[in-house]
Symmetry: C2
Subunit: 225 residues, 2 copies
């Protein structure tokens, strides 16, 4: 199983080259998901499409990970969570949500992302699934806490839905509110052209095993230039 | 745009026939998502796979909905939310989570579902994304409230994460706890062989427009046998 936290020793240039191949593949798979949800073609066309999908799957599965992508660190310490269900560059389920940190050096800031949520993210008719918004907020709040130097796994997540979120262009904003011991409190919002649609507060806790793994990772020298 | 709430007047037999064609297509697309996340093939194989994916997408998009699937009612009133991001039979992003109601006639019961969450649902390495669990709980709690005759859109959702949820077989349980006016309070859990991993409470509110639309739907006679 490769689905842990590990260093694969890739250089920045190697990661860029890999991303240039994997990114378009993932986008193609996203387009297929959208087409699957919206298709109205007849049975013969569906049968023909299934043959192509099976052929693509066989090609991709010819050499594959035993498990999930995991979280990887390149030679310069760059973290890659390309399998992540919300922001993974190699995961067709992810919109993806790519958080922007306006000031890379500042810990006290609002980070954000804008992205399109199409037919595959539907809950109530014509609206984004509230649970998918919860997933995006969980990811965004966790990213804000991590970037501010207070990473953790989600302990508690509370979402308040103020109005329906129409399918289409969506924005998430997130920030670290405060830190109390091993707990980081982050907040965030989902908004569209209609204004704020949902608000979230999350408590992120760094579990003992993660603190120990992180310490071991640092001791091993992985991530040093 | 077809992405609303509407009746398409399909008979139960027509819906079954459609499901028999759409279900396997959606499962094939799920397999492709999994293969995309886990692939380690070379650039030439990825290029070949992309050609097949593009061909499948073109076939499916040849005739398609302007918007999302929406929520549809068949001739006998059967509700279909096949585009739903968590439980949609036509949505490759959905596991899917098919809730089981042990007693179709009882309102006071625990409903549940068991399903596999593979590499595409990853958050922390080897674990299910906490946000995806929130999405599943949102759907399950809402389904429990609806089945108990107290439907609504999510007002507030609170998730408490007790331990990491390993990728693999996962179970969700949900039930209606109580009703106060237009608010339904539902609860639920996520569990694996490791025990309970997350707990949720949700408040579901039937908004005015939905109450009016529902009343209009009933007045129109749609859904009557």
């Amino acid at each position: 199983m490769m689905s842990g936290y590990f260093s694969d020793d890739l250089t920045a240039a190697e990661i860029d080259a890999l991303h240039a191949v994997i990114g378009p593949l993932t986008n193609d798979a996203r387009a297929l998901i959208d087409a699957t949800v919206r298709t109205e073609v007849d049975d013969a066309a569906i049968a023909a499409a299934r043959e192509h999908i099976a052929a693509a799957t066989a090609l991709l599965a010819d050499k594959q990970l035993d498990g999930s992508f995991g979280v990887r660190f390149g030679r310069d310490g760059t973290k890659r969570a390309w399998g992540n269900a919300v922001m993974g560059a190699q995961n067709p389920i992810a919109a993806p949500v790519d958080m922007v940190f306006p000031d890379p050096d500042a810990q006290d800031q609002i980070c954000w992302a804008e992205f399109d949520l199409g037919a595959a993210y539907e809950g109530p008719a014509g609206l984004v699934h509230g649970g998918m918004l919860a997933a995006i907020l969980d990811q965004a709040l966790g990213a804000a806490a991590e970037h501010a130097g207070a990473p953790g796994m989600t302990g508690t997540l509370t979402i308040r839905y103020r109005q329906g979120t129409k399918l289409g262009r969506v924005r998430v904003d997130a920030w670290l509110d405060r830190v109390e011991g091993v707990k980081s409190f982050a907040k965030g919002t989902i908004s569209t052209a209609d204004g704020i649609c949902a608000e979230a507060e999350g408590v992120f806790i760094l579990p003992r095993w993660a603190r120990e793994a992180s310490a071991a990772h640092l001791r091993s020298g992985v991530g040093d230039a």
